[in-house]
Assembly symmetry: C2
Homo-oligomer: 384 residues x 2
């Protein structure tokens, strides 16, 4: 557990603390900051910067200082460090200027839960906005240089994410909601990254819902997906395809960009095949469109069996229209995100170096995959 | 425009600045902080506290110092003050731990817009959570004592709001999304409060949508409302009732607690009257219920005319199911909120005293009522 903001004490100019800390370290026969500075050929302030504000230090210098620190076994007195450092006990998160319709509600739910979980651990959440990754990185720099935040929570991860590269290079604590997807679209093998992330196992969620439909007797089940190339969408499709394959059934997919009317169009196309009795949609928005296409079909072709429809995200609209959906369990995601961030922010923690040397934690400890929860409602009960 | 966080300069201990500031003031022949302290019989630190951290000063003392300040015409050197004060350039906003379903989406949309508007003005938004008003006030104290925020954005205003009283008493800058409703339920006369607020004119929105239904030929229009006693709900009802009255039609209301199935039950009750052809719902959730009741009726009583349904909030679900709704224009609300907050936070601004003396701004300048926007969709077109 880390200190709470209210515990902060203003200890005056930094030099005074450094002296006291050095005295304490000499008493304990440990290597001092001065020893590290001398061996690395830098000032003590630079050593302090490497430990507390690594973004200020040139990469070469930082690497040299870190090597000496490792060599001399220099250890910080964590209490003294906590007094000296100006930690903000705040984590930053970027939100788009406008809320994102039905899909965006997952991130809003996550944000609420994150605020609550952070607060339980003595942290606050600060919001900012940015038009793109480059603008977001610009905001990282501003927020760090003003000591407004200690780290970040990233969302909307994507292949070749420049934000992750920047944060890694600057040794900034962060956790991502969303795993790093490989740029080759291979969802089996996430990109080689060792940063902390938490994600929801969309593949398992899609497999579960497909198996549930099979158990209810459906055989011709069509996946209503996004265009190829989104890690999240491709992963969900893979779960559906695995379930179909295991049952010896053919996987069939129709694709649409995110949106209710887009979903209606693609679903109508899928329903041209008179054998189709169930639609597994990659999102609640596409599922809503599928619901209206299914209703339309029920009116125009009353002789055909009722079509089951399922969505993904369990947004408020799903509950409102009785749509079966896969819940992302945003509270568990938020809880895991804070758990992954806290060790990086703790006063005694080494600033994690994810690029230059073995990590303090094993990869498995920094990657959490939350199992989603199927919420069954009327839309998948064809006896409705 | 206020300074940006990056412009902050650490000027060392406060005593040094005070001395410099006094020298500057003496050169300009103005009353000094020492003059104010002497006349009020307090220390210079107390004068400084009254100006910079009024929450630290007992009300009586504060009133005495403020009277002397007014008497001597003491004016702060704003640049010196900006250097001396530890402003955070952050505003705090409380969000519930879990997002609030369909209705809660208005606040999420507001939060996104607030983040963007704040950032344009050099401010950040910090989130916190609290179970009730008392816990929220506790958080105000923590956030202010750690200088984590300069002020607050309140939501969910209600009669006899203890949060407003606390913030007023402690002279904390804040703005409320939501006007202060009178505790006697009189929506014509908001509670006597002079704090800054921005709200959406729900009465005008409900009147507009009712008039639009009348123009389309509807005469028996029922209001689907919340239980009496919510300022927001009563105000929307008043707009509907005014439109009905002006047209010489009888206002009829059925009430339900917020929720889709609750809305369906109340709407079904309203539709027992065979003359009813339109339902004006106080929220999108109740409207969704009304839509399903209207569909049910169309199946069981196909001889009856199609029922028009309208909602309120223009949530994503309204767009998804083609529900006519009243949009709260959260971007304009956020923009007005920041505009109302900025003068209170500006380095040269007097800390507003809303209880003890005439306000610097007229009330009308601190109360903004945003006109909502009717979004017409298929649910109110009975030729659909």
């Amino acid at each position: 557990m880390i200190g709470r903001p209210g515990d902060d004490v203003d200890e005056g100019p930094a030099t005074r603390d450094t002296t006291r800390e050095e005295a304490e370290m000499r008493a304990g026969k440990k290597a001092t900051m001065a020893d590290v500075a001398e061996r690395a050929g830098v000032s003590r302030q630079t050593v302090s910067n490497v430990l507390n504000t690594p973004a200020k230090v040139l990469p070469d210098t930082r690497a040299r200082v870190e090597a000496v620190i490792a060599e001399l076994g220099y250890q910080l007195n964590s209490a003294a460090r906590q007094l000296r450092t100006q930690r903000s006990f705040v984590v930053g998160m970027c939100v788009p200027p406008a809320a994102g319709g039905i899909s965006g509600q997952v991130l809003d739910r996550f944000l609420h839960a994150l605020t609550a979980k952070a607060q339980e651990s003595g942290l606050r959440v600060m919001l900012f906005t940015a038009a793109d990754d480059s603008a977001q990185i610009d905001q990282y720099g501003r927020l760090l240089s003003t000591k407004s935040v200690d780290g970040f929570v990233l969302t909307d991860s994507h292949p070749d994410d420049a934000r992750v590269v920047w944060l890694d290079e600057h040794h900034v604590p962060f956790v991502s909601f969303g795993r790093p997807w490989a740029s080759d679209g291979d969802t089996e093998r996430p990109a080689a990254s060792r940063h902390a992330w938490v994600d929801v196992d969309g593949r398992a969620g899609a497999r579960d819902v497909t198996e549930r439909l099979m158990a209810a007797g459906h055989k011709r089940i069509v996946f209503l997906g996004w265009p190829l190339g989104s890690g999240v969408g491709d992963d969900r499709y893979a779960g559906y395809a695995a379930a179909m394959d295991a049952a010896g059934l053919d996987a069939v997919v129709v694709r649409a960009t995110e949106g209710v009317s887009e979903g209606a169009g693609a679903a109508a196309q899928a329903l041209d095949d008179p054998e189709v009795t169930a639609l597994v949609a990659v999102s609640d928005a596409l599922a809503l469109g599928a619901l209206s296409a299914a209703r339309e079909m029920a009116l125009t072709a009353p002789e055909r069996p009722q079509v089951a429809v399922t969505g993904f995200d369990n947004s408020p609209v799903a509950a409102a229209v009785d749509l079966t959906s896969v819940d992302q369990r945003t509270e568990e995601v938020a809880s895991a995100a804070i758990d992954l961030l806290l060790p990086q922010l703790a006063p005694g923690a080494q600033v994690p170096d994810r690029t230059a040397r073995p990590a303090a934690m094993h990869d498995a400890d920094r990657h959490v995959l939350i199992q989603p929860r199927l919420v069954e409602r009327a839309s998948s009960r064809t006896d409705r």
